[in-house]
Symmetry: C3
Subunit: 308 residues, 3 copies
């Protein structure tokens, strides 16, 4: 198993052993940060962070990872200031930047765009989100968080709540955790149910799936993964307001459920988790965000060969 | 007196001794920069610089301070590219970023916004300007400049000229210098006079205050602190043009006043200081801007515990 | 010959010996990057990179150069977030930033703007492009590329193709290469011919010049320098479409010409070089982009005195 020079475009093709390796290196990175704060593991590396769509959280997390590895980032954080505005295509952009840096991290809106860039260059490319496509570093940091919160990835009951139709993170999580013998509870309003092709795929993988539209039925899980229900998915604002209210995780709901439940959320949250949940030990969503730094350090170090 | 882990949200609550300590550490930082250019005092630190309002000068000055301390900055320089555009609140933004970094510097438009962020997190927060509220690093660099130019903060006659109503810097300076036995000359057009609550507060603190609308009466001070009169404060453009002309500091005005006067300005200037003043030794405003780096280094080093 | 503290505003005033020196230091920098990836030559320096116009390629290339020299960049990548939006002039911006950093790199739209900034400050200023004016680092990286591809700058036949009227890079290249006994083929449609003042100047310098509107006549050169023909130069879109098609370099055209031709392009390309040319050994344009890092490292190191 060798990650050097590999592109990280999706989690779909990662084996169980590869995922566990990434978890181990993430834990090593966390230990380094807790001890040294900034290491010199990659002090000879320059990393391109090309964000042609806004995403403060993911971008800053990657930048922090770069700095805590002792590397240096060159950054595009705005589509308008880029050569894209002069009509350049992704492959040419990649070919140019590949000569500057040791690795390219890219977020852009076209499904498959990160793959186009990866095909054009020799340096490794990490997909930081390609529109409605993949967001592998989010899925992997979700796994790393689950492992830290529960002590294992094995045999967990995981509820996913909210917008399961458009919520990219719950699709990726379903796939990424499938090799570890989970049970899934998919909890969504009718209009935002998990797409049938994913449900079938899980059945094919022998993952037990329960579907429900009642948040109460999600709360005895080991993990409750909340997502935002976005206004722009609805033609009818009244319908949105009604549905949204039914998928808000309140403190009293948490207190009715599994006392050891860990609550995750990809953030940013709007109001789907009540503020008074934040201080419960079950609230893992800010820890989850922080884990993104260690996971991204692990991937950067693995694909550039700084660790193996 | 311990600054480690303290938030710097305002100068109003700083004691005379605390201000003098900050002045001393700023001088230490200036000595380090003059000798080594870049130190390794904070080479294990990552600092978040979150600017949700444009401010090149303050932002670049903080970034320079971070680099000259050997630290690394993660930067948001644009409200539009941030999670704020997805509806996230300041407290959640702070809680997420706090897990990445060792200190947060923030400029944003809501009065009290930096305090909201400081309340949400354990890492220290430095207010880089909260709209019409506070801008403590500007006030402190003004003090550091005054001390360098005059050799002391004690017993100085300080004239403030221009827009004293909306000019945040002259409000903060009035408070920050008050413990050092100053006299103030407030020189402004009728419509832009210093707010009454500040004048009363100074009288309460036994600071002698003279109010005038004639710039000639400001020029025998030790310090003349100029500010911009902004067009957008006036409904009537003709009124603006007339007033503006009365508060322009020209070379001949400077030559009529105290030959040792030091002229300050928070910059950017438009035309309230004539260009031919720039080469006079009295013109301290570019030195003042440069002092911002040393003062901000001092605050970053103090609150992160890199110096004590 | 001493470059320390010199501004790099244009290539017009560089002597043959100065150009050769820059070529030599660029090669030294390339050797350092190939061996160490990141050096510590300028680890005590902070560099301002002020881009008031979008230009990802040039900006990221400068930033990479800064990092690979071990220095730190403070960056403005967006005119809107700058003090310029508060009405500050370039000289004041320069005077402020000069107190933060060891060198200023600036791209802005006004012809001569970089010179205005250079006149205002003591730190060296490098012009990263001043609108329709000069772009000296592009011209010098073109020379460095030519020298690497051909082994010499001496006595080459150089064809420039496309928009020679508005194409700033071909103007600068004409001047920069003139001391090295070249021949030029200027190949452009009637409406976009090389300006007469440049043609006369070349004749004055005894450079043989051939003008043509047929791309076939350009292909026996040692170097073919392609440029974009921009839609916005034409009132008549049909005229644009017709002309554009006549200045596309295809693989079959390349195969009819000098088998050792090196093809350059300042990038970004739209479609004036067919994609199937990219894999020919003659296609030097991505190598050319990558050379920008070494050339810019050389200039930064020379003007700050890090090398001499």
């Amino acid at each position: 198993m060798n990650f050097k020079d590999r592109d990280i475009l999706t989690t779909v093709d990662l084996t169980r052993e590869e995922i566990l390796k990434i978890m181990q290196v993430s834990a090593d990175m966390e230990a380094i940060v807790r001890k040294e704060r900034v290491s010199s593991l990659m002090s000879d590396k320059v990393i391109a962070i090309i964000f042609l769509e806004p995403s403060t959280r993911t971008r800053l997390s990657f930048e922090t990872a770069v700095y805590r590895l002792g590397a240096s980032p060159i950054i595009v954080s705005d589509a308008k200031s880029s050569s894209a505005s002069k009509g350049e295509d992704l492959a040419d952009t990649a070919r140019t930047i590949a000569g500057y840096v040791d690795c390219i991290v890219v977020r852009q809106p076209a499904i498959g765009g990160a793959g186009v860039m990866a095909d054009a260059v020799d340096v490794p490319v990490i997909n930081g989100g390609d529109g409605a496509g993949q967001h592998p570093t989010q899925a992997l940091l979700d796994l790393y968080t689950i492992q830290k919160e529960k002590g294992t990835l094995e045999g967990l009951k995981v509820a996913m709540v909210g917008d399961l139709k458009y919520g990219r993170t719950v699709h990726s999580l379903s796939y990424a955790l499938a090799p570890f013998n989970p049970e899934y509870i998919y909890c969504a309003p009718e209009a935002l149910r998990m797409p049938e092709h994913i449900v079938s795929k899980m059945e094919e993988k022998k993952v037990p799936v329960i579907q429900t539209d009642k948040i109460e039925e999600a709360l005895d899980a080991d993990i409750v993964y909340m997502t935002r229900i976005q206004r722009e998915r609805f033609d009818d604002t009244a319908e949105y307001e009604k549905l949204k209210g039914s998928y808000i995780l309140t403190r009293s709901l948490v207190e009715q459920g599994n006392p050891d439940v860990s609550i995750l959320h990809p953030l940013p949250r709007v109001d789907e988790i009540a503020r008074d949940v934040d201080n419960l030990p079950n609230a893992a969503y800010f820890r989850q965000a922080h884990n993104g730094v260690y996971l991204r350090m692990a991937l950067l170090a693995l694909v550039t060969g700084a660790v193996s």
